[in-house]
């Protein structure tokens, strides 16, 4: 659990408020390790946010005496400690609690992922429309900023970070980057955004994949999740040459394309942004989540299970029972009324 403490007056907050209201000192991030169960209530009233009952509402306490609320579908006993096991082949589900960078770090931890200082990273944000961030069409500027800061904290060199994507329609990518607020984040962090359409592509099987993507140690697929869509998979398509993707769609099924892409991109990690997401009617709901996985297809399947949505065609053959989950249980975070 992460807390924020004033180094002078020692007061502690769970929200990342930045500055102490008394002495105006910058708050320090305090990470605690233990989460001991000190209270348990079995809840049998369902609500919009918690449609499945019973569940267990827990009070947890860390080694510093901080206490917080935690929902669980697993039954614990008083005094027991909660631990979240890592699994590199899983889909990690975590709650974003104000601090996006911390939730990204937790997802990496749950996936047993570590970053090498010399790693070459390509960030692939979702950038599909010239809309402001509140539409939740594109990766949010806050999420992109948190990813960049996370990479800087992991000592990744600025020159080894690229932010790249391409437009698959007639809308110029510059306009989308500007309106979405993502361009400002790139410029603020001195990372020049790349239009993949203007760079080289390399033939791999029937796919033509951006050379920069293939040469990267890690591709961070920042998928803005959308209910009823395979957002992570769709964003991964952006590494393909536009004309190649168009012709493949004509010649093959989407399942074939996504499966070939999955096998060709072994260096991809998807971070599914699901703090606020778009419903199919374009209105916004709040799942308050982040997902992570090395499999964008599995991540899409898990997200649509959480939001209880009808499955897009390419996910229909992805069996949820075969997907391993780490972090929070699907039942703990499931939403209805979508």
């Amino acid at each position: 659990m992460v807390f924020y403490q004033c180094s002078k007056c020692k007061k502690i907050w769970q929200q990342s408020i930045g500055v102490c209201p008394e002495c105006f000192s910058e708050l320090e991030k305090v990470k605690t390790a233990k989460a001991k169960v000190i209270g348990i209530s079995k809840v049998s009233i369902s609500s919009i946010l918690h449609p499945e009952v019973p569940y267990f509402a827990l009070v947890l306490e860390d080694e510093l005496g901080n206490k917080w609320a935690h929902k669980s579908v697993k039954e614990y006993t008083i005094g027991e400690e909660i631990n979240f096991e890592s699994n590199p082949n899983s889909v990690a589900i975590w709650r974003t609690k104000y601090d996006i960078a911390d939730s990204i770090e937790k997802v990496f931890e749950l996936l047993s992922m570590s970053l090498n200082e010399n790693s070459k990273i390509v960030i692939l944000p979702t950038l599909v429309s010239p809309n402001h961030a509140y539409f939740r069409d594109n990766t949010s500027p806050e999420f992109l900023e948190a990813v960049i800061q996370f990479l800087f904290e992991k000592k990744i060199k600025l020159e080894n970070i690229k932010i790249a994507t391409q437009s698959f329609d007639e809308i110029p990518i510059e306009g989308m980057a500007q309106k979405s607020g993502l361009l400002d984040i790139c410029l603020k962090n001195k990372i020049m955004p790349l239009d993949l359409a203007k760079l080289n592509f390399v033939k791999k099987g029937s796919l033509e994949i951006a050379e920069d993507v293939l040469n990267a140690d890690i591709v961070l697929n920042l998928s803005m999740m959308k209910i009823g869509k395979a957002g992570a998979s769709e964003n991964a398509y952006r590494v393909l040459k536009k004309e190649n993707f168009a012709s493949l769609k004509y010649l093959q099924s989407e399942e074939d394309i996504v499966n070939e892409l999955k096998n060709s991109l072994i260096n991809i990690i998807t971070l599914g942004e699901a703090d606020f997401v778009q419903k199919q009617n374009k209105t916004i709901v709040y799942p308050g989540l982040i997902l992570g996985s090395k499999s964008f297809l599995n991540l899409d399947r898990v997200f649509n299970e959480i939001v209880a949505s009808d499955l897009p065609e390419i996910l229909k053959d992805v069996d949820i029972q075969n997907i391993e989950i780490t972090g929070r249980d699907i039942k703990e975070v499931k939403l209805i009324n979508n």
């Binding site: 509402a57 009070v59 206490k67 609320a69 929902k71």
Partner: protein, 377 residues
Amino acid sequence: MKQKMYIKGVGMTKFDYSQKYWWQFAYDAAIEALKDAKTGISEIDAIVFTGMSSAAGGEHQTHKVSFLSGLFKTNVPIIEVPSVCGGGGVALWTALHLEGFKNILVLAGEKLVDNKSEIVVDYILSAAERVMEQTEGMLFPVQNALIWQQYMKKYGGSMDDLSLIAFKNHSNAALNPNAYFYNRPMDLEKINNSPVVSSPLRLMDCSLSINGGAAAVVSTEVTDIEVIGSGFATDYILTFEREDITHFKATKLAANMAYAQAGITPKDINVAEVHDAFTSVELISYEDLGFAEEGKGGELIRSGKINLKGEMPINTSGGLKAKGHPISATGLAQVFEIVNQLRGKCGERQISNPKIGLTHNIGGAGGSVTVHIFKKI
């Protein structure tokens, strides 16, 4: 309060599931209070309104002050002070601390229950913190169940004590024509056997979400009821971030302010309306309000001292538990009860000659608390 303040009139609607508009509950209660005060709307110099329910039914009216201006055909200042379940008390506190006005109408109206329970629970849940607690399943019964569990661990409280509180409040409500459970007392066996909603709290430990309105006219003009103490304190919205998770610090602070202002001690109180959103909250509040020592709230309910025929009856109206809890209207309905007890107008549930009464109104799970003390002149 920098000046002496008095209650000139009170009013409330019956608490029920009728489907009037939110403003009709407020308006009907206001008319009763104005009539009781023998004061026409033209003599009202300001209005303080509280409510949270206009989002219900998709109405989403957020300019209630203008709405009320149109209803009352007045152009006086109208202030809205939402503070969820504690709204009525906070509205009263605000009115009492406004200077330069002779007569102030304080009112609340809630039509909260207008949909299936999952939706209504969701409306009410908006009074809790979303990111850290709502998402983690902390509905209000859940927060209070966990607080009560911590209390039991520390002091050894008993569910039987909570049953006695529910029984007492249902018995009182059965005598109150404005209460939802009027003429319908509840026996102990039913209370004990009610289903667990969030362990260890049972359905019969929970108050009743309902619709209703309540109002009061406060005045600088001397009347038969003086407000001698007015305390207001807040506490963190994250329930388990607080220093003490077995008691409500804001109640202690608000009560101490009110007692100090009134120049009295808890022993001087003859009758009280205590915020029993859950039976456990009532028991814990006995201690926070100074009616019982810490850890001894159970002894107080078992002693019978706070029953209708006891030394200091608590929740003669039936409380939130059995009169009903229309969120923001609750605090003003408490004032209605205490004023009428002090005036000797409570019919079958009237207690013997009370002189000083107290109201205690909580918003959320202890996040905003007011305590008011009233004296019969």
